[in-house]
Amino acid sequence: MVICWNDPVNYMEYVTHVFQVVFGWARQKAEFHMLQVHEQGQSVLARESMEKAEHYVHQLQKYSLHATMERDE
């Protein structure tokens, strides 16, 4: 799973924008996940193969977001 974690430094607007760019999501979906990060501390952004998940984590970290990949249990 690709997870984005909340932090007090990234702007909500910026996080929404990054989700749109990295995943190609519509604004509404990107905002939904951004709010989940903000309100619940984390959001599962994708459930993918290791290779694809690594790719997404790299993309998100390039934008300095706090993103990691975790086991789907």
Binding site: D7, V9, E13, Y14, E54, V57, Y63, E70, R71
Partner: protein
């Protein structure tokens, strides 16, 4: 800083003289985030995690070097900033703008890390912390203005 014109190929911003100085001072701080700052996984236990972490660190380091080179080229390009009567006009392609957002956020998040990653607003700044706080706040201001320009009028 104001957006004065945007087309599919280019964004043009008007900056005051002081604003240009601030933007250049900020960009000279890049990179701010410590290398190997981010883990690939929090919980661990992923197959091949060590190798994956190595690849991620390597990719991010490479990215940082590319960004530094691109930043130097941008700052040296005389066509980027054109002097006007009341300040400067900055011309950027949509790709430049997207990339500058990443650079500015590295400066913002990196400055926050240098401040000790505070959870709440800092009070009682001193000589050591004030420059990092300034960089964090100012890079955020530019980021928001760039994002607004990219999204266009609502």
């Amino acid at each position: 800083m104001n957006l004065i014109r945007s087309t599919k190929q280019q964004f043009q911003f008007r900056l005051g003289r002081r604003e240009k100085q601030v933007l250049l001072s900020l960009l000279k701080r890049y990179p701010c985030l410590p290398a190997a700052h981010q883990p690939l996984s929090k919980s661990g236990g992923l197959p091949g995690q060590e190798a994956g972490q190595g690849l991620l660190d390597e990719a991010l380091a490479e990215q940082r070097q590319d960004n530094r080179r691109r930043l130097q080229a941008l700052l040296a390009d005389p066509g980027r900033f054109q002097e006007q009567e009341t300040g400067w006009r900055l011309s950027l392609s949509p790709g430049d703008l997207e990339w500058l957002l990443q650079v500015l956020n590295d400066i913002r998040v990196g400055s926050w890390v240098l401040l000790g990653s505070p959870e709440k607003r800092l009070v009682g700044l001193d000589e050591k912390t004030a420059p990092h706080y300034w960089a964090m706040e100012m890079s955020g201001q530019f980021q928001m203005q760039f994002l607004e320009a990219m999204q266009g009028p609502n």
